[in-house]
Amino acid sequence: MRKSINLSIYFTAFGLMLLAFNADASPLDSPGAFKALVCSACHGFGGDSPGSTVPILAGMSPAYFKKAIKDYAEGKRPSPEMEPYAKYVVEAGLDEIAAYFAEQKKQSTRIKSNPAAIRRGMAAAGQCTVCHNPQGEGEPEKGFPDLRGQPAGYLQAQMLLLKEEKRKLQDTTLADLKQKVLKRLSDRVIADLAAYYSSLK
């Protein structure tokens, strides 16, 4: 059997593919990419974390990334894992690494939460919208993180740290407000809220 193929069309198609390929830079082709190589062990390639307790960095606001790194490096956010690495990021080039993750396409966690927990979380989320906005998009430039699509395990762990005052917000008014909100919530509701925000795109 002979397949009829138009030679000239294929040559053109291959030429175009090749041009597209050449124009497409390697995924490692940015000043921050090399410096962020160590991050992918925990945060996934390009910051697309597959795990439940590790935040997704892909598409993160550079302002919020830098604030978080500084807080980890100074021990204001407690994390035995992140404190040494945050110091590495500051040492290696905070701006470049923040820019690298910001350039990556924003991803949402692939870990699916229980639909019932998501529904309960949605019903309980009203009080969060004051700071994190109606859809959880927050205002990262002002320090209010975008919660959408972050893994539930990470969101839950952070809420528990804040509730138990192991992590404190620097703005005392906000810290008081956050405390008041979280203290009223049971660990179960906190888990539901985490499920809800992780389900948002």
Binding site: L7, Y10, P84
Partner: protein, 415 residues
């Protein structure tokens, strides 16, 4: 218009790529000449390096030599002994690397010929422009009297796989009231906290399933080698665990089920887990990549090029001289950094200066873990530690983090 067969089309399109890709002058073969990399070993270091070379520059031909068709994670394999984890969940394939265009040959490299820049594989030779050697460790059987002859039954289970499953069976079939003895080799060895995590897993299993039994840990070192304070605290959870430092395994007698240690103590066992002293795998020793100690390979801290042989890079547990542990996380970091260096050097560019990092979890029972984390920088082309941080104690949260870590790093190596 012309009708052609599929085969003719493939030929024609190949020429098309060559013409378009090289400005119409050179052939396709010439485009790849000088850009061939061979990687020996598909573990945490080698598999990562092979993948990342292709990610950084898909025009480089990368061949990975790995005899095993499956990747079995050493991290978490201690949990197979206690039944907390199954070996199946630690076993993965290499198809992800094939999708990146890595050519995989499931064969062992038998020799390296640095002068001819080629690697022997069976009766065949593979030529390289740069070689990445990530061979892992071999055991020094002759360091313990009687071990060489007994090595089929006296298990190390220090390379995850069949031995891991066998040792788990030996532990399960031990009578309640029995004595399980394990030995810790002198530094340097693969995975510094590994023996102590294993001790916790075995002790937890015995405490839960065979409460009249006992674990004796004979450590060749003066003290617990890694996460010392944390393990000392955790060991208090296990009254069935007897830890004896400065007790180097000297002789094993399988007939009388007895092990003799350097101070001359004789210890009877029902099940023995003897982790022998270690060195870089044989191929690295035979290719003269090792230093004066004939055990480990010294490398440049930026490019991972061997200090002994040009165009050969060594990564992972077989290296020495960097202030880093022999851990899977470090091997993965070295794989990525070495890959970027190789890609630059093949294009006659200077390799960027990138420091590794280390995250290391140890499970101390069926649901809690501890961790140590190290970050590094490079000063005057040498790796220097920025900080080491330990978890305050054992916790479920740290164990959960370790599961996120493994999902991410396995995908970083193989995905």
């Amino acid at each position: 218009m012309k009708n052609i067969t599929r085969r003719e089309f493939l030929k024609a399109s190949g020429i098309g790529i060559a013409i378009l890709g090289t400005g119409g002058e050179a052939s396709f073969a010439a485009a790849t000449k000088g850009r061939r990399v061979v990687v020996i070993g598909g573990g945490w270091g080698g598999a990562t390096a092979a993948k990342y070379i292709r990610l950084a520059d898909p025009s480089i031909e990368v061949t990975l030599l790995e005899p095993s068709k499956e990747f079995i994670s050493c991290p978490f394999s201690n949990l197979v002994l206690s039944g907390v984890e199954s070996l199946k969940r630690l076993t993965m394939g290499y198809n992800g690397l094939r999708k990146h265009g890595v050519k995989i040959r499931h064969e062992a490299a038998t020799a390296i010929e640095p002068d001819k820049r080629r690697v022997k594989v069976g009766n065949d030779y593979l030529e390289y422009d740069r070689l990445v050697v990530s061979p892992g460790i071999d055991f020094q059987w002759d360091q313990v009297e009687g071990l060489d002859k007994a090595k089929d039954t006296v298990l190390h289970a220090w390379k995850a796989g069949a031995q891991t499953v066998k040792l788990a069976q030996q532990l399960q079939s031990m009578k309640d009231g029995g004595v399980f003895v394990m030995t810790v080799p002198p530094v340097a060895y693969r995975c510094p906290p590994g023996p102590y995590e294993r001790a916790c897993q075995v002790a937890w299993y015995l405490k839960t399933k065979k409460p009249r039994s006992k674990l004796i840990v004979l450590d060749a070192n003066k003290d617990i080698v890694s996460k010392t304070g944390l393990f000392k605290t955790v060991f208090k959870d296990y009254p069935n665990l007897e830890y004896r430092p400065s007790n180097k395994a000297e002789k094993i007698d399988v007939g009388s089920r007895e092990i003799t240690t350097e101070p001359g103590d004789k210890v009877k066992y029902d099940v023995i887990n003897l982790i022998p002293p270690q060195r870089a795998a044989a191929i690295a020793v035979e290719a003269d990549l090792v230093g004066g100690d004939k055990r480990w390979c010294e490398v440049d801290h930026v490019t991972y090029e061997s200090v002994k042989q040009k165009n050969i890079h060594v990564i992972g547990d077989s290296t020495i001289g960097l202030p880093v542990p022999k851990s899977g996380n470090i091997a993965n970091a070295m794989g990525k950094i070495c890959a970027v260096a190789v890609v630059h050097l093949l294009s006659d560019k200077e390799a960027p200066v990138i420091a590794p990092g280390n995250t290391c979890y140890s499970w101390v029972n069926d649901k809690e873990a501890i961790a140590v984390v190290n970050s590094y920088k490079i000063e005057n082309r040498k790796v220097v530690q920025i900080e080491q941080k330990l978890t305050p104690g054992k916790s479920v949260a740290v164990a959960q983090n370790s599961l996120a870590w493994r999902a991410s790093i396995w995908s970083d190596i193989l995905g």
